[in-house]
């Protein structure tokens, strides 16, 4: 480890520039920590207490700019310091030359990029609806990442967009892939001929990754926000998305993903689907199973792959049956390791769709399942912070996310909960989803390995990893790290839930 610093005298940069440069330096290879701060006595004290103080700073004055870097090696530190000039100049030059101008309004942004045809909006919900309408009035499609947009506003936006032939993805739409471009929380997947419409964000991520990992690819992945398929909104954008994919020349197979739509919406979807010549696969997590409908997101994705490759859908079922036999073997082995009173599964999910899918799958495997976001017959947890019997928790629900980052970005809350559940003598299995991709935590393996290692001494830790090897985090590396820490890693949430449920069933038979 190496610490070095620079003093820049008489250097005045505004706060936004200083904060941005500080963040960029910290992201450089081999940099452990960095600070770009004014040379006040207080800041020098903080630099000292955080191990960043350089002797060069001893005589710094309040108006000097201090750059402090702690690196893994001297080379890393010196490289980072050498980059500072460039970073500061870039911060200034991009403003003076307009290379990265920061417009402060939609009008300003449109002046900068007159050909833009999509606006991604991520501001507080009470303002987001108006901004979205402004974007639509300017002829842009909208991806509305914001949540807490009033229902009436959502309906008005979608009706307006429908009349103009525009898409409104959202509100609360966290992921989409349009023309090969991942938007917000999305994965790096192959391009191909399978188009997705999804009213379930992590559902979209799961199927798109499974499709890509199976060698097929995505033409478009249109998110609609979860509320779209409820009665009030009526599936407006779900239907528009389906129509768009029907017309899209690159799309040969269509995959629909959602929690169960309202029956009126389902009727409209089915009616429209009958008019479309392309094969359509549906995965409505939690809907009553029909023989021709896949029972899991994984199965739906694999069926879409088979159809896109001109293969029969039946072969997917037989492949999964063979895989499930392997799951049973693993479950039996894990069950044998647990103590007598270890009898419950505790699912801690960052993705709401995965939490819902877990409940659906556990319905046939377990009795006495509780959740803070119950689906079907699952009972409501009295207190989201305290598990009861088999508990599946959606850590993305409001009670966990008000005033803090989403659990896909910040693992601290879930990590604490993992240790709490592992310490419970009645816990046999901890079930986790790990979602990779843009926007998600850059190093989930580092965040999780420690607690997984600790927990796996007492319980079976079962993880699914949603992602691809092309994601910034690299799925292969994450899986290897989690296995090394003691987790059992599965290629899908469905497989993980099946394994967790089977471990418990073997425990019950003992």
């Amino acid at each position: 480890m190496n610490v070095a610093g620079q003093i820049r005298k008489g250097a005045y940069f505004d706060s936004v520039t200083l904060m941005r440069v500080g963040t960029e330096i910290t992201a450089l290879p081999g940099v452990i920590d960095a600070a770009v701060v004014m040379g006040t006595k207080s800041n020098r004290a903080i630099l000292n207490s955080s191990g960043l103080l350089s002797a060069k700073f001893d005589n710094a004055s309040d108006t000097d700019l201090l750059v402090a870097v702690k690196g893994e090696t001297e080379t890393a530190t010196q490289s980072a310091l050498a980059a500072v000039d460039g970073l500061l100049k870039k911060a200034i030059n991009t403003i003076t030359t307009g290379g990265e101008s920061r417009p402060s309004s939609l009008a300003g942004a449109l002046n900068l990029i007159p050909g833009a045809n999509l606006a991604l909006i991520s501001i507080a919900g009470r303002y987001a609806g108006d901004e979205a309408m402004r974007a639509l009035e300017n002829g842009l499609h909208v991806m509305l990442f914001s949540d807490n947009v009033p229902l009436e506003k959502e309906i008005a936006l979608k009706k307006f967009a429908q009349r103009r032939g525009l898409l409104v993805m959202g509100p609360d739409c966290g992921t989409a892939i349009i023309n090969g471009v991942p938007l917000a929380f999305a994965n790096v997947v192959n391009r191909g001929n399978i188009g997705i419409v999804a009213a379930a964000g992590t559902g979209l991520q799961e199927v798109s990754c499974i499709i890509s990992n199976a060698g097929a690819g995505i033409s478009q992945a249109i998110g609609t926000g979860g509320r779209d398929v409820k009665q009030e909104v009526g599936g407006i954008m779900f239907l528009e998305g389906l129509k768009a994919l029907a017309k899209d020349e690159q799309t040969r197979v269509i995959l629909l993903v959602s929690k169960p739509p309202h029956k009126d919406v389902l009727r409209r979807i089915e009616k429209l689907a009958k008019t479309i010549r392309k094969p359509i696969v549906t995965s409505f997590v939690g809907a009553s199973t029909q023989e021709d409908r896949p029972s899991t997101l994984e199965e739906a994705a694999l069926i879409a792959v088979a159809l896109s490759q001109g293969k029969p859908r039946d072969e997917v079922a037989s492949r999964l049956v063979a895989r499930d036999k392997e799951i049973l073997r693993t479950a039996k082995r894990e069950a044998g390791k647990r103590k007598r009173n270890q009898k419950y599964v505790r699912g801690l999910f960052s993705g709401g769709t995965f939490c819902a899918e877990a409940q659906v799958l556990f319905k046939t495997l377990l009795t006495g399942v509780y959740s803070n976001a119950p689906v079907g017959n699952t009972k409501q947890l009295r207190d989201s912070l305290v598990s009861q019997k088999h508990s599946v928790i959606d850590l993305g629900e409001d009670e966990f996310t008000v005033g803090r980052p989403h659990p896909m970005i910040d693992y601290s809350l879930r990590n604490r909960r993992i240790l709490v559940e592992a310490a419970d003598p009645e816990t046999a299995v901890i079930l986790l989803d790990v979602v990779l991709g843009y926007g998600a935590h850059p190093d989930p393996a580092a965040e999780l390995s420690g607690v997984v290692r600790q927990a796996s001494r007492k319980v079976s830790v079962v993880c699914s990893v949603t992602g691809t090897n092309h994601d910034p985090q690299n799925r292969g590396r994450v899986e290897a790290a989690l296995r090394k820490a003691g987790a059992i890693v599965t290629p899908s949430n469905a497989a993980a839930c099946n394994l967790a449920g089977q471990i418990i069933r073997y425990r019950e038979r003992k």
Partner: protein, 279 residues
């Protein structure tokens, strides 16, 4: 370009160039800092607001700023102004409704907690926000801030000021912004309660003042109850306006700097809520 407003604390004189930012060019003479700013920045006691002004796009050092009784001369540009162009920076409070005020303070608190920059001092209102700060310097910074605020809340106001001054990220460090918010809050309390807090404010200012001219200028104006436009709008909204207006004013305040507006807002809120040990 046209002159939109001139701050009521801007005095006649010739001010050499000091520094330049994206929306502001600063001129300094005898420790008085005057900023020529775009409408994006807006009114302030020492601001001259020029429509279509581009602060950092010029590549040459500007000539000194010259101000007379009714003109501003900036390079080759000459702007005339009248009494009506002055921005009045003091806030006179009348007919305030305590219940509305306290309700709106809660709205401000909510906005700071939910909508402010992740690295702002709003973690003092919501502990969970400390997870936004990386281990290392940033967490050490939050510890220092917490220490200083704890001192203030427990009757050691000036010790707390010493702990906070110059502390943190940004050109005007977060600690200074917090203290400015405290001073603005003290001024408001003085008017609301009819009690004289000027001596305390002067002591706070003298303790906080250091070598950063931007912070010093800001703190001095705050001590004297002279507010920049966005803060004045927020104070008036808190006293008289609807929740919607308070939220919009809070959003405009929080848009200042990296976290300066939110830091100032946090200091102001804690003071006005009576949590800063000032009785």
């Amino acid at each position: 370009m046209t002159l939109v407003s001139i701050g009521d604390q801007v005095k006649e004189g010739t001010y050499p160039f000091h520094s330049r930012f994206r929306h502001a060019v600063n001129f300094l003479c005898d420790k008085q800092l005057i900023s020529v700013v775009s409408e994006e920045i807006g009114d302030g006691p020492l601001n001259i607001v020029i429509r279509d002004f581009e602060g950092q796009s010029a590549t040459h050092e500007p000539a000194p700023l010259m101000i007379t009784a009714n003109t501003v001369v900036l390079g080759s540009n000459r702007f005339e102004f009248t009494d009506q162009d002055y921005y009045r920076s003091a806030v006179a409070l009348d007919n305030w409704e305590p219940r509305l005020f306290h309700h709106n303070l809660a709205v401000l608190a909510e906005e700071l907690q939910t909508a402010s920059s992740p690295k702002s001092l709003a973690f003092l209102l919501d502990e969970q926000r400390t997870t936004n700060f990386r281990p290392g310097f940033e967490r050490a910074f939050t510890d220092q801030i917490r220490r200083g605020v704890y001192q203030m809340m427990n009757g050691h106001l000036l010790d707390g000021v010493r702990t906070l001054r110059g502390c943190g990220l940004g050109l005007t460090p977060s600690g200074d912004d917090f203290i400015a918010g405290l001073l603005i809050g003290l001024n408001l309390l003085q008017q609301l309660r009819g009690q004289d807090y000027q001596r305390i404010a002067n002591d706070v200012f003298r303790t906080a003042r250091a070598g950063n001219i931007f912070s010093n200028s800001f703190l001095d104006l705050a001590r004297r109850g002279l507010l920049f436009g966005r803060m004045k709008d927020l104070v008036l909204a808190l006293m008289h306006e609807s929740e919607e207006t308070v939220r919009k004013s809070a959003a405009r305040l929080m848009a200042i700097g990296g976290s300066s507006g939110a830091d100032l807002g946090t200091g102001f809120l804690l003071t006005v809520r009576g949590q800063m040990g000032v009785s």
